[in-house]
């Protein structure tokens, strides 16, 4: 049997709410780390694992995602490879019924048509580096029906609200799954990434549909623990679950220092090129401990921040511990601390924007303040 995998980039579950940002686009299509979109990490994981057939599911507001995927070369053979952006039309307007299962069901023929033996399903609001071939080898070695990626974390309470917590037996078999109500710090958290045979995946979609129209994939997996052998695969290394504005903010600032450890020539993160010129640091610029995209013009001070493409930072400005998304203008004398500034914003009149590390302030897309 060949080891061909169909990659499914899943939509974010209902517990993901990134205040402000997701009014405009799903978190997966949001500008990230000065250059990327969040979902570039998951898609690059797949293409770097030589998966060349990828389905990307989106709930609604598809414009950003479509534009980005169309413009990006994820290093897949342009003839043999295949990218599809899929969404369910019927349930698109009803948040309650807009589950991943409903979306798979609506597009079942594209899953049935695939010639892959396996599927790897992973949601795009998680950021980590993983070779899925390693996970598939583990899946085959353990002989389970479903392999679920998890990580043992010590911040389950703060960072993984409403995620699935796993109870693992000695043989790594998952014996119970429960929603994280934020009681405990040290837990094994599901990264909601599954490998199973494509046939079983189709069966699970049918089973879920018959059981409840509110079921998500994680619910039907939890429901099958006694009938099927469901095994945990431990992930090691950096993870971030971008399920809130704070998580988005933290992931930007944390990854700034770790990016060069995670990304290499062997494991690049692909994204769309914008043909922006390099960044110009002008007289008076003071920049330290920051990640800067191309095309910026900097005259002010930037400390410990992530600055997106084509951002203009005028003289007398101080930006500290903040995330500034592309094409934003920060005019003379503005002080910004612990903030997330969305795209195309112009900040001139409000001279002080101060959030806290726990509650970063958010400035809306195209806001003029």
């Amino acid at each position: 049997m060949s080891n061909k995998m169909l990659g499914i980039v899943n939509l974010e579950p209902a517990n993901v709410h990134v205040e402000g940002i997701d009014d405009y686009r799903p978190i997966s299509a949001t500008s990230f780390l000065g250059r990327y979109r969040v979902l570039d990490f998951m898609i690059s994981n797949m293409t770097n694992s030589h998966i060349d057939e990828i389905e990307i599911y989106i709930k609604n507001r598809p414009r950003s995602t479509i534009e980005h995927i169309l413009g990006t070369n994820y290093n897949v053979n342009s003839k043999k490879g295949k990218f599809s952006i899929l969404y369910g039309e019927i349930q698109g307007n009803n948040e309650l019924y807009n589950t991943d299962i409903a979306n798979f069901k609506a597009n079942i023929e594209y899953i049935e048509q695939s010639s892959a033996n396996y599927v790897v399903v992973a949601p795009s609001h998680f950021v980590y580096i993983q070779d899925f071939n390693e996970m598939l080898a583990y899946h085959e070695k353990m002989g389970g029906d479903i392999t679920v990626m998890y990580q043992s974390v010590n911040n389950a309470k703060e960072a993984f609200a409403q995620c699935d917590l796993l109870e693992l037996g000695a043989d790594k078999r998952i014996v119970a799954m429960s929603k994280n109500n934020g009681k405990y710090k040290n837990r094994d958290v599901s990264l909601e990434c599954y490998i199973m045979s494509r046939n079983l995946f189709i069966e699970l979609i049918q089973k879920a549909t018959m059981t409840s129209s509110l079921f998500w994939l994680s619910d039907v997996v939890a429901d099958s623990l006694s009938d099927l052998k469901v095994v945990g695969f431990p992930h090691r290394g950096y993870i971030s679950c971008i399920n809130s504005l704070k998580a988005f903010y933290d992931a930007n600032l944390e990854l700034m220092d770790r990016l060069n450890d995670l990304v290499s020539d062997n494991w690049p993160i692909y994204t769309k090129t914008n043909d922006t010129q390099p960044t110009l640091y002008k007289e008076g610029a003071k920049v330290s401990g920051s990640l800067i995209g191309n095309g910026c013009e900097i005259e002010g001070t930037v400390i410990n921040s992530v600055i997106g493409r084509n951002v203009v930072i005028k003289s007398g400005v101080v930006v500290e511990n903040s995330v500034i998304m592309p094409s934003t203008l920060v005019n003379k004398g503005v002080h910004i601390q612990n903030a997330v500034i969305d795209k195309y914003a112009i900040i001139s009149h409000i001279k002080e924007l101060k959030g806290t590390p726990d509650e970063p302030i958010y400035v809306k897309r195209r806001d003029r303040i």
Binding site: L33, P268, P278, Y281, S288, G295
Partner: protein
């Protein structure tokens, strides 16, 4: 209109920079290659078919220009054609003998493309120009050839090919590097020819034994002799021939000067270049940056002042880089001090090495050989 870019020259005055790659493929301005400028200008001027005449060390250049989607030159009926000298049925294999000969050897290509006008460009100039406007002027004036000219300061005019014109900008005389220039209109090496006429002149030139087969030395003088209509097209804006280490350095420094006449930030006239998957630039906690042009993949932990850093270059802790150009992937070791240098691609400057000087007249080209020789001397001391 079909564009033909002359990209075969070695560029010997760039020394080691062009030892392994042709001059048009040399990196420039942080993330570009020199040839991105004429190619992007073509794309932005709605020219869809571009021939690139290659000869010297062209493996990298060939594979680069073959990716015509980079510049959006991949639409149906167009494309970037790589045209090396090739063996032919009757004439056999011959290298390009001169700029005109390179076009003569590709007349079949121009015939096949059904060219009405031919735009001749050079692969080693940095500028932004709308060739569509130049073609419009060429047609309006009923010219046989139009030559783009730049007004240069009179005292520098003797370094250029100078066009002497009448009051309507019709060219009456051409002088190559005249000792006593009569005008300050310098040829930019950009020509538009009406193809039918050009074809005839090239065919005649091919037969002449004493010809240099060069546009400036042979074809333009023949046109003038025969009283054809040659027009000067005045260009205003930034233009630079980057044929020497000093001029290459200067053109990079122009990008960080207050004037910055080239302005690569104009969204309506982007310069396109091959993308890479480098991460955004990482500016370390102790970095100090005072006037610099820095691109993706760079990691700065030291001091950078009045310098341009190319893709993937690193400046380590306590290193001081001033008035320098650090090319792709070069690494400046901890505590190294650089003044007025151009550091070649992938050179690793060892920690604490001092290179170049604030007061030197010329710019120092830092090569792998130079660095290892200096390191050896230092070890002996």
């Amino acid at each position: 209109m079909v564009a033909m870019i002359l990209a075969g020259g070695r560029g010997t005055r760039l020394f080691d920079l062009t030892k392994k790659v042709a001059k048009p493929a040399v990196h420039f301005g942080g993330k570009y290659r020199i040839i991105d400028f004429p190619l992007s200008n073509c794309a932005n001027s709605n020219i869809t078919t571009v021939g690139v005449l290659v000869q010297y060390e062209s493996v990298l250049l060939n594979s680069y220009i073959a990716r015509d989607h980079i510049w959006g030159l991949d639409i149906d009926g167009g494309g970037v054609y790589c045209l090396p000298p090739r063996e032919k049925d009757v004439t056999g294999l011959g290298l390009y003998q001169g700029t005109a000969d390179a076009i003569t050897q590709n007349l079949d290509f121009l015939d096949q493309e059904d060219a009405e006008y031919v735009l001749i460009l050079s692969g080693d100039h940095i500028y932004k120009m709308n060739y569509e406007k130049m073609l419009k002027a060429h047609i309006e004036k009923g010219a046989d050839a139009t030559i783009a000219v730049l007004e240069v300061p009179m005292r520098e005019a003797s370094r250029f090919g100078i066009m002497n014109t009448d009051e309507s900008d019709r060219i009456v005389e051409f002088e190559e590097k005249p000792a006593h220039p009569k005008s300050n209109l310098a040829s930019m090496g950009i020509y538009i020819f009406t193809y039918k006429t050009l074809r005839r002149y090239l065919k005649e030139d091919e037969k002449k034994k004493d010809s240099n087969h060069d546009f400036g030395k042979d074809i333009i003088p023949s046109y003038l002799n025969d009283g054809l209509n040659l027009q000067a097209y005045r260009f205003k804006g930034y233009w630079k021939d980057v044929g020497t280490i000093d001029s290459l350095w200067e053109a990079n420094m122009d990008l960080i000067s207050n004037k910055n006449a080239l302005d690569l930030s104009d969204p309506s006239w982007k310069i396109y270049t091959g993308d890479n998957n480098a991460v955004p630039q990482i500016i370390g906690p102790n970095a100090k940056i005072n006037v610099a042009y820095i691109t993706q993949g760079c990691v700065v932990n030291g001091e950078v002042s009045h310098s341009v850093l190319f893709t993937g270059s690193h400046v380590d802790k306590d290193a001081k880089v001033s008035d320098s150009v650090i090319m792709n992937g070069a690494k400046i070791g901890q505590g190294a001090v650089l003044n007025r240098c151009v550091v070649m691609d992938d050179v690793k400057v060892p920690p604490h090495m001092k290179l170049g000087s604030k007061t030197s007249k010329n710019i120092l080209l830092v090569t792998k050989a130079l660095v290892s020789k200096k390191a050896e001397v230092r070890d002996h001391e």
